[in-house]
């Protein structure tokens, strides 16, 4: 039968995505604490142990945590096949990535190799469970449409990033020499330009036109950009691998082309949003704008950095690398993530509450569940933290402490907002349970 296996409703239980979302700001807060503890020294050298710990608290604990939760929620709904055993997969992945990130970061911060080793193993187990579950889900999709295609690329990139990450972990945790020095570049490359960038662009092609009522992205862009980026990353990796991590012409060319593609995505997105059909003020839209501006800035700075390594008159290459990292991870990914959380979480709370209400009865709407004013306040604090972190990359002595405090503040505000959604959900559920006769609202 043609639609065998097709179910159009199989979102997982609400606890599956929510446990990932609720954990994420905690890691942002831990990153702020590590930055406060370490002070300007954390930003003095790109690969200082503290910088590595902070980068992974953000990249794994905050970014990957939300990205995994969102994929576990959205993939089954958007492509019509469930993630197998969602509760078990979520439990293993959440525990593996969460505890693994804690141990891994602590290992670097306190110089304890056994913690680092335990963290790396837990992370590998967590990511493996997730990758296997999503592979099954993708293979069972009833239609191999554009969304499914882009998710294959995202998953492949994640797998490559994890493999290079394990090589580096073997070096730092077990003292096993790297098979190739290129791994130092390839791990962050596949994590940010592959897994993160391909997920945001792949989802962006679908979600930006839907939620903000913009025109569609240009067809060739939506159809081929993911595959093109993956091909560029593969060629870049091969060139670096052959040259043992040295940047030859091919590597530089691929990197500049990749940066140009991401910059183009940022520009097209902003132009589409500028001409959107829906004109209402929207915090998610503002988060996307900050994210696209950061993506453009990071792409430009990185393109120049690799094409003309000596071109930085005022700033050191190290501080440029930290600035690029701040823009890419907190400015680009962090903004898009917060913006999407404000759509996904209130909607899911509403959707699950609505299914508990009787016919003709309505759950509190999304803006009752999470008022605009609370989102707006947190948005402003996140932009402030971003600006201060950028300044701290360039002038660590002056700005690291204010940046760390602002990061802590925005993490707390974000968590408070997410908890407000959970509270509204619990209240609604209690009301629905206690209601014997249907009333006007539940």
């Amino acid at each position: 039968m043609i639609q065998a296996g097709l179910q159009l409703e199989q979102g997982p239980p609400i606890s599956v995505p929510f446990r990932f979302f609720l954990a994420a700001p905690v890691f942002l807060l831990l990153a702020a604490a590590a930055l406060l503890w370490e002070g300007p020294a954390a930003f003095a050298v790109r690969l200082s142990p503290a910088a590595v710990a902070i980068a992974h608290l953000v990249a794994l604990g905050f970014m990957a945590m939300v990205m995994i939760g969102a994929m576990m929620q959205m993939l089954p709904v958007l492509q019509g096949s469930p993630v197998p055993r969602p509760r078990a997969t979520a439990a293993v992945t959440h525990a593996g990535v969460g505890l693994g990130t804690l141990a891994f970061a602590a290992g670097f911060l306190f110089g304890e190799p056994w913690l680092l080793r335990a963290g790396a193993l837990a992370l590998a187990a967590g990511f493996l469970a997730f990758v296997v579950a999503v592979l099954v889900c993708l293979a069972r999709a009833p239609r191999q449409n554009r969304t499914v295609g882009s998710m294959w690329l995202v998953l492949a990139s994640l797998l490559v990033a994890v493999v290079f990450g394990l090589m580096l972990a073997s070096l730092f945790g077990w003292g096993i020499a790297l098979p190739n020095q290129a791994a130092h570049s390839l791990h962050p490359g596949w994590s940010l330009l592959g897994w993160t960038g391909l997920l945001v662009t792949g989802m962006g092609f679908e979600l930006v036109p839907m939620l903000q009522m913009t025109a569609q992205y240009p067809k060739p862009m939506a159809r081929y950009m993911g595959a093109l980026l993956l091909a560029l990353l593969a060629l870049w990796s091969a060139a670096l691998w052959i040259d043992e991590g040295r940047w030859g012409e091919v590597a530089v060319g691929c990197a500049v082309a990749t940066a140009a593609a991401y910059a183009l995505f940022a520009v097209v997105t902003v132009v589409l949003q500028q001409r959107r059909r829906r004109r209402l003020a929207d915090v998610t839209l503002d988060f996307w704008r900050v994210g696209m501006l950061s993506l453009f800035g990071a792409s430009l700075a990185w393109g120049i950095r690799v094409a003309w390594p000596g071109a930085w008159a005022g700033a050191s290459p190290e501080s440029m690398d930290i600035l690029i990292g701040v823009l890419a991870m907190f400015g680009f990914a962090g903004s898009v993530i917060s913006g999407m959380l404000y759509k996904i979480m209130p909607f899911l709370a509403w959707f699950h509450l609505q299914s508990m209400c009787g016919p003709g009865v309505l759950a509190p709407n999304m803006k009752k569940i999470l008022p605009d004013a609370r989102q707006r306040l947190q948005f402003r604090s996140q932009v402030l933290a971003l600006a201060l972190l950028c300044a701290a990359a360039l002038w660590p002595g002056l700005f690291v402490y204010p940046a760390a405090l602002a990061l802590a503040a925005t993490a707390v505000l974000l968590e408070m907002n997410l908890l407000a959604v959970v509270r509204a959900y619990r209240d609604g559920r209690a009301r629905a349970a206690s209601q014997s006769a249907p009333r006007d609202s539940c």
Partner: protein, 145 residues
Amino acid sequence: MTGIGEYMINHHKECDEVFARAEEAVGEADWARAQARFDAFTRQMDRHFDMEGNVLFPEFENKTGHAGGPTQVMRMEHDQMRVVMHEMRAALEAKDAEQYLGLSETFLVLMQQHNFKEEGILYNMIDQVLGDQGEKLLAQLDSVA
């Protein structure tokens, strides 16, 4: 010739447009215009639900012998959207912009995830299963008031 899926996708876009026009008028507190635009919006939505619920889905279910499959979930979501639209009308009559905009935000996400599933998966299947009756069905869809 236009496929059935393409025809329905185009109508989704019309629904988006009338939805945005009504919401815009409420945002500007232009209540007379909002009322007229809201009526146009609910007319198009009802027409869309009828095209699917009364024409396409029964044909699809007949052909595939599946009444409890994907179309069943789509019908449930139509009912959910109807409930939200009913509340939007009440908010409009009470001239309660805050309530309307909270509801319309919810409606938008509900409608778009629903449309995404139809456009990405279900309409492809409908084209495949019912493609040979395309002309007859398009004429029937046109005549849904």
